[in-house]
């Protein structure tokens, strides 16, 4: 990565001893990770390692059994997606959590609609804002008034990303943001992540592609069977080291 991350101050967000069990199975077991401004931390692991569950506790989609979430050093009470939004935590989900039957603007503002003085939703204003923000991210986008079901994977993803950018996310969770995308669109997301880093936004990135993790992330936290194997700075380890952590749960010597 082109610039170094200053990790001397308070982390943007800190997860301490997070626990979550489903019917006796510990999906997340005593996991602690942190994230600094302008940093991308990859959350890696096999399917079922617990990374999505961990992230869902941050985004409020699941409630934690125990553990603590600190935002800017202060204990944060996150019990539902609304709480998470109040802490400026935005999530971009793997399966593109959009309502297919609504248009781009309705999706972008879903749950936070702009309203007229009479309290009715202001579609024209929302479409105008959507045109502005999406014009920045995907200049060729034109289909503002069709349901998003008719959009390509990349266009749908850019609606989801626009939503996070528009509402000034400080902490962004991306759950395999490029899984549904083509080559060009993946490059676009990578560019966008770089830009967001420059603005001091912290990003948790869940991904399976080791190559991409090496490219995009500053640090990688690897999970296996609900436990944290370790957190490494990706520049200081090889791809094989990371693979070893994921597959064997073996921590390389250099890790913190």
């Amino acid at each position: 990565m082109p610039f170094d991350i200053d990790r001397t101050g308070t982390p943007l967000i800190e997860l301490k001893n997070m626990q979550k069990a489903f019917g006796g199975i510990r999906a997340v077991d005593d996991v602690s990770i942190d994230l600094y401004p302008g940093e991308v931390v990859g959350v890696l692991g096999h399917n079922g390692a617990g990374k999505s569950v961990l992230m869902k506790m941050v985004s409020g989609a699941l409630q934690r059994d125990s553990g603590e979430i600190l935002v800017n050093g202060k204990s944060a009470d996150i019990n539902n997606p609304r709480d998470a939004r109040n802490y400026q935590i935005e999530t971009i989900y793997q399966y593109l959590a959009l309502a297919d039957n609504l248009d781009a603007a309705s999706n972008l503002f879903l749950g936070r609609e702009l309203v007229t003085p009479m309290g009715l939703v202001n579609d024209a204003a929302m479409e105008a804002e959507t045109r502005k923000i999406m014009g920045r991210l995907t200049p060729n986008f034109r289909r503002f008034s069709t349901p998003v079901a008719g959009l390509s994977g990349g266009q749908r993803q850019s609606v989801a990303i626009s939503r996070a950018v528009y509402f000034n996310a400080k902490i962004l969770i991306m759950d395999e943001p490029t899984a549904a995308l083509g080559v060009e669109e993946t490059a676009m997301v990578a560019e966008l992540i770089d830009e967001l880093k420059k603005q001091g936004i912290g990003i948790f990135l869940i991904d399976h592609d080791i190559h991409q993790v090496k490219n995009l992330c500053d640090r990688a936290s690897v999970m296996k069977n609900g436990k944290l194997v370790g957190t490494v700075e990706v520049d200081k380890v090889s791809e094989d080291d990371i693979l070893g952590m994921i597959i064997l749960g073996k921590k390389p010597e250099i890790a913190e």
Partner: protein, 431 residues
């Protein structure tokens, strides 16, 4: 930049007339089907189907199912179903009948025809509907019992709660003011209807104008001005034409004479006047407007459609989906109560079988009107048009002389066929 745009934008086909007008082609198809239906019946009945009298009756008969169908749209859009609306209507009707005939005169000592009786009954009816509806919603939303089961239970329970409330008796006659909402007994009259028509036209035109202005202030593409004028013209003709037809159904001379007598006047020689718009139809129009605004212009409506399109996305967006379900069923309950007012006022008494099988008519109306059971898709005007088509079909066949059992066979087939056509339409348009 402009070079790359020609490559990256898919080729578009030439816009046809309807696309330029930006009219929902599905709505157009339904109106077309409705017109064909009317013309066929008019031919088969030697012109008796499209008389002012029959059109007047058709609109009155459509009101009760039409009101509930608007609420059913919300329920079906959120992937639920409500099988209890007919029974809930009966319970609301029973409560209101009891207020009018027992509570007001006997407990409160109000004399017959007291001005407070009708408002009190209506208030009790609305509360009953909303509480029961909200209870259904709570069972569905919070206890996660499937809506099909909750309302199937409700179908049995509320039909017989109604029976219990009245001791199984038919209760009537209802309060005179209350009966005004029944249809022919309460109409605006010619002048009032024209005034209403002009206001409705003005409101519609203002709506079209302000929508265009809003798009222009944001520099969005707008329809060509001729398209706007065509739509404005169609709307104006439709509203005023409807008023003219209802006004041209004349009150029979003897009835008029009695009305003058009741006021202590003598009817002038050769005096005639039309009925105009019934109050019950005004209620349906008001419900349609409020429900359409709710669906398209409020957060509640936005959340209903988002929840129907993708329940998980709605939840992750911070929408309180369980409370939403309660609200939807409460709305349906209130609408059942309003339907109960119209239905019981129309027959001038409460009977045990009021609203029987209405749940099926209401669901059929919503579905024929284009509400998809898979969720997320449906319109209020479609549901009302669906109710109108169902009612026309039924009374048209009755006029032709088709026996009731055969009528039901046809209605059943039409329902299935209409949904099949809808599926084909959606496949072709890709929506």
């Amino acid at each position: 930049m402009s070079d790359s745009k020609t490559l990256s934008e898919p080729t578009r086909t030439e816009k046809n007339l309807f696309a330029q007008l930006e009219i929902d082609t599905r709505l157009l198809g339904m109106i077309g089907a409705f017109i064909v239906l009317c013309l066929v019946f008019n031919f088969l009945t030697d012109g008796r189907f499209l008389t002012p009298r029959n059109i007047f009756n058709l609109t009155i008969q459509t009101v009760s199912v039409g009101i509930m169908a608007t609420g059913m749209v919300f329920v079906i859009v959120t992937r639920n179903i409500d099988l209890s609306v007919g029974s809930l209507l009966a319970t609301c009707s029973a409560m209101m009948a009891v207020v009018q005939t027992v509570i007001a005169p006997e407990w409160l000592g109000l004399e017959l025809g007291h001005g407070m009786i009708a408002p009190m009954a209506i208030l009790v009816g609305l509360l009953t509907g909303m509480i029961i509806g909200g209870f259904h919603g709570w069972l569905v939303g919070y206890l996660t019992i499937p809506a099909f089961i909750v309302t199937l239970g409700g179908l049995f329970v509320w039909r017989n709660v109604a029976w219990h409330l009245t001791g199984g008796q038919t209760i009537g006659p209802l309060d005179a003011n209350f009966q005004l909402f029944g249809g022919i007994g309460g109409t605006l009259g010619e002048t009032g209807s024209w005034i209403f028509g002009v206001i409705a036209v003005a409101a519609s035109l203002y709506g079209l104008y302000s929508a265009r202005r809003a798009r222009l202030t944001h520099d969005f593409p707008v329809k060509p001005i001729w398209a706007e004028l065509v739509i404005a013209g169609i709307v104006t003709v439709a509203i005023l034409g409807f008023v003219a037809i209802l006004n041209s159904y004349e009150i029979p001379t003897r009835r008029l004479a009695r009305m003058f007598e009741a006021r202590g006047e003598v009817m002038p020689e050769g005096f005639t006047t039309g009925y105009g718009i019934p109050y019950s139809v005004l209620i349906l129009i008001a419900v349609a407007v409020v429900m359409t605004v709710t669906a398209q212009k409020t957060r509640l409506g936005r959340y209903i459609f988002a929840f129907g399109g993708n329940p998980e996305a709605a939840q992750l967006s911070g929408i309180r989906t369980r409370a939403l379900t309660v609200k939807i069923f409460m709305i349906v309950g209130a609408l059942c109560a309003i339907s109960a007012i119209v239905a019981s006022a129309r027959q001038t008494f409460h009977s045990n079988d009021i609203g029987t099988l209405d749940e099926l008519r209401v669901i059929a109306a919503a579905v024929i009107g284009g509400t998809a059971l898979s969720g997320g898709i449906g319109t209020i005007y479609g549901a009302i048009l669906g109710a109108l088509i169902m009612q026309s079909l039924q009374s048209g066949m009755a006029m032709v002389g088709v026996d009731a059992p055969y009528q039901n066979i046809v209605v059943g087939i039409v329902l299935v066929f209409a949904v099949y056509v809808d599926i084909l339409y959606r496949k072709r348009t890709g929506s």
